[in-house]
Subunit: 342 residues, 4 copies
Amino acid sequence: MTKSIAILGASGYTGAELVRLIATHPDLRIRALTGERKAGHPMAQVFPFLRHLDLPDLCRIEDVDFSGIDLAFCALPHATSQAVIKELPPHLRIVDLSADFRLRDPAAYEKWYGKPHAAPELQREAVYGLTEFYRDEIRAARLVAGTGCNAATGQYILRPLIAAGVIDLDRIILDLKCGVSGAGRALKETLLHAELSEGTHAYAAGGTHRHLGEFDQEFSALAGRDVQIQFTPHLVPMNRGILATAWLDGDARQIHEVLQTRYCAESMICVLPFGTLPSTHDVRGSNYVHIGVAGDRIAGRAQVIGVLDNLCKGSSGQAIQNANLMLGLNETTGLMAAPLFP
Amino acid sequence: MTKSIAILGASGYTGAELVRLIATHPDLRIRALTGERKAGHPMAQVFPFLRHLDLPDLCRIEDVDFSGIDLAFCALPHATSQAVIKELPPHLRIVDLSADFRLRDPAAYEKWYGKPHAAPELQREAVYGLTEFYRDEIRAARLVAGTGCNAATGQYILRPLIAAGVIDLDRIILDLKCGVSGAGRALKETLLHAELSEGTHAYAAGGTHRHLGEFDQEFSALAGRDVQIQFTPHLVPMNRGILATAWLDGDARQIHEVLQTRYCAESMICVLPFGTLPSTHDVRGSNYVHIGVAGDRIAGRAQVIGVLDNLCKGSSGQAIQNANLMLGLNETTGLMAAPLFP
Amino acid sequence: MTKSIAILGASGYTGAELVRLIATHPDLRIRALTGERKAGHPMAQVFPFLRHLDLPDLCRIEDVDFSGIDLAFCALPHATSQAVIKELPPHLRIVDLSADFRLRDPAAYEKWYGKPHAAPELQREAVYGLTEFYRDEIRAARLVAGTGCNAATGQYILRPLIAAGVIDLDRIILDLKCGVSGAGRALKETLLHAELSEGTHAYAAGGTHRHLGEFDQEFSALAGRDVQIQFTPHLVPMNRGILATAWLDGDARQIHEVLQTRYCAESMICVLPFGTLPSTHDVRGSNYVHIGVAGDRIAGRAQVIGVLDNLCKGSSGQAIQNANLMLGLNETTGLMAAPLFP
Amino acid sequence: MTKSIAILGASGYTGAELVRLIATHPDLRIRALTGERKAGHPMAQVFPFLRHLDLPDLCRIEDVDFSGIDLAFCALPHATSQAVIKELPPHLRIVDLSADFRLRDPAAYEKWYGKPHAAPELQREAVYGLTEFYRDEIRAARLVAGTGCNAATGQYILRPLIAAGVIDLDRIILDLKCGVSGAGRALKETLLHAELSEGTHAYAAGGTHRHLGEFDQEFSALAGRDVQIQFTPHLVPMNRGILATAWLDGDARQIHEVLQTRYCAESMICVLPFGTLPSTHDVRGSNYVHIGVAGDRIAGRAQVIGVLDNLCKGSSGQAIQNANLMLGLNETTGLMAAPLFP
């Protein structure tokens, strides 16, 4: 039961990652690839690593015939996404990878993104795409909003702990170490090899990062009260991967047990033995999440560390996992490949 | 028609790469994994990136029951391999990834490896495992010798040109740029991140690298005369990938045409449009080979540049491609995954 | 007034860094270099980057004539250092770069290093070498103990804040991002380029890292009460640099003011404008420390981020700064070179 | 005898490298720094690694008072440089780091740079700035043209051999491995960390790289006949460093002897023992050149490998070496710092 899909915005990293993963997906066929500035060019020119594949050339969105398409992935820039999706035909299932439909509250959207939402009715309709926590809603949804990659990493660690009430909700610190591909293919001096390799620095410190909007929304809903975490990301000279170190008030053994219980039946999430620490090396290029828990010499304090690949489980892999659910396919089809090591 | 396989020497990089690739191979099942020093340990401890897989624990070779095994991959150190393979049961098909059976001539073996071969009868029997050039022999073979990763890269570039007689056989220069995983998991100061990242150097200059034994054997046989090339590898701060720059005397357009004609029907080898230069980025983690050809302002001179992933097409991917042939499977099953980029 | 110095243990990274810095120091002359396993070899063979220098060959410690030496740097492994220093002639000034003399309390030493100290009388005599905080003691000392590189980074951030009483002493979290050279030239799989580049992971989590002994000693003395911080380091794929993110309870503006006031007269320490975040790129290869302060959306919470080069300011640069003081030289002579960027 | 200097174009990498080196130069004082787009900003904002220095703010060229300036370094983009220098006051000594004055022949300039030169009279006047080969001319010159970084590397290897007549002039192949900072601070996708780290590729293959204009000019003049070499650079994931592998027809021992004899009195150039191979790691951040020679199993063939730091000896270090000569200072003042390793 092959399904036809389109990828809108295929000339960026998340678009290319979708193509990479779908290349060996047995049930999905790519029927259209769009890229406004690169329209008319073959993908092999934009991404030579995809040269061996038989792919449609890039075209403009208005030139796509959506009649035979079952599902579209939108890997467009923030703000562009909402304008485009508003105009798509109603039969189409949509997985959006931008930030446009992650926040349900129009006021929260305006606060974090600086202007009113252009498609508030779609914003209300969209389902938050953290697969393991919204499966039923995703299966039934027409529009699914992919999560932020940092937001996904933090939630895999923290949701079960907040739900179980085993940590102090006013003492949640999330210190993130992020690979560079999370910034996309943007041309900025700080993303040049010469300025990024061989060093590290923090950015968006002190509660200014937009993914906090997602944490606030999800954690507050979960706790039934207002929850605000502290969160600062650091740019690390690696292309893929996020490592989230959560500094928590709670009992480490209990925390470990809660996580193990929650995830023991999840095929993409491994909770490591107590005291074992995860590495982004061990999930690179894959859809897996590894989570480790360590105690502290100070009683009642714990560290929970989670890792995933920002482009895969944090973005395009998650998108395919959601698409599988929406199309009635096996949830993990095409996503079981092992990480690349070394 | 699932086949049962064993991996002897699964605690090194080529062993781990075999597991990585076989993890999503539909027709191969891993029944045994050996590792002398790590016997008794689970693979997840030696290679945490394989944690999500249900794998047998590592054991000693003598503890493997080979009766139900169809094929064994030997990813053992050079010299160990010949001693081990000699003792394996005769029904077993074997793909060896070491250097032990690459050279057919006992004198050449002794010259390049410094001591007499311990299993000369097997040496005679072994088929050289450069898949695209030895398919029929590999299909029928009991023992296939994986090629050197540098030797494979050079041969993909040069074999068709030597066979077609379009280059000067006394003027073949191969300047290689090699990723670090080619050196294996050996503990040497020069392989430490601190001493390898952010710099490059040549090694084994001036015709001293052991893979020259393979070049000599194969090119001389092909040309029907003695052929000696010049070859120096350079260590580049990247984990995977070999880029071979061949400096040749010949007509660049003719060279390009010969390569295109030879490889147009090969699914794993892409000859790029004339003048387009390949990058190791575009084959990383995959079984593909990209080859580019450029002319020179000096008439009659050309450069041919080939890239592959040393651990995959240069070693473990090639081994599986050969195993597929030996077991009557489709040659490229399990090997069509796209490269990882970025 | 040229001073003669010896470097004991010159075949490791901190030894080499001492030579690098002293190469252009106008007042220090290297008279002896020791290296037990490399005795008899020229430094150019052990560290080819020092080839242009006219240096004594490596020798054994017992072959050094200390009579004309003013000061010895000991860059020996932990535990070896105390055995060697005990036997050195009494006229000799000594700057030790190992961990052997950092802890004043024999019980603390035994707790963190697992066995009793072999030279407790020297342990009592040694001065803790955090230059900016122990200047007078260092000037007068015969034996100065270099600090741990992580310990130095954390103290530059935290000492003024603890002294000023502007942060909650029971809520100090230090999340470190460390370059690989901090682990020295040890041959371990995790330090190989293939296993370290392109990824990150935590180690020594939960209050188990030995540098906590230094934090406990110094912060408790400073506060006049027992202070225990939380501290976990993360290995980042860069060769040099430590970035320490301190998560603190306190007023960010007040914290910034305290740091600015404390360091405004220090030539090696820059406090950045409020809200500006430092990068290890900006201190690489130099003796400078950069410190940034950011507030948080949660009132009363702050982040202080400090960066330094672990081999230079965190170890060998600090050692020379201390030696300058001990020898009556200008404190920063030979240490004012700008960082290397890019 | 302190000299006053200006740096025109201080917001790029070569400008920053000039500041880095001059920061500890005892005889040079920076009086003006220009940067058109960043005019009015402090250098600490453009290059935070220079934060500890007391520097003039960036300004526009027209706002510089050149009356008290002895020498100006021009680190401006190609083509801009010739327009600017034409307008500078005649008393000013100038070291230009662009490509504008490297070629003496107007026709050659137009061929390689695609348009006629705007200041042909200055082009005639300019002295080619390869210090070790043009010392007397540089001392007397008003305008010195810094060499291309690739061109410098190739010439250090090849000039003595061409002059001595010990290699076949029709068989010179130069295979370069180049760090990324050679491309400057340009915002291009191929220079992003995500697309450059962990891989390598050739560019400007087949005799199309502009530095060939310099090789042609210099080698033909030296040989007294037309000399054309083959030259292809490869981009390597490292920030600094060029490694040039020359594949030559000649006697390796004789070649080694010629190089040793030529350079034995040069303080910045080390010829390694025969058979020892140099590494870019060993010159990083320094003004030194290391050259190694290896024979080949094929008699009469040799490889000569040279390494330098493209930003230092290949550009800004060379510029200061030339400025020292022009200003009557010791040639290597400020340039003797050891490389940074690791």
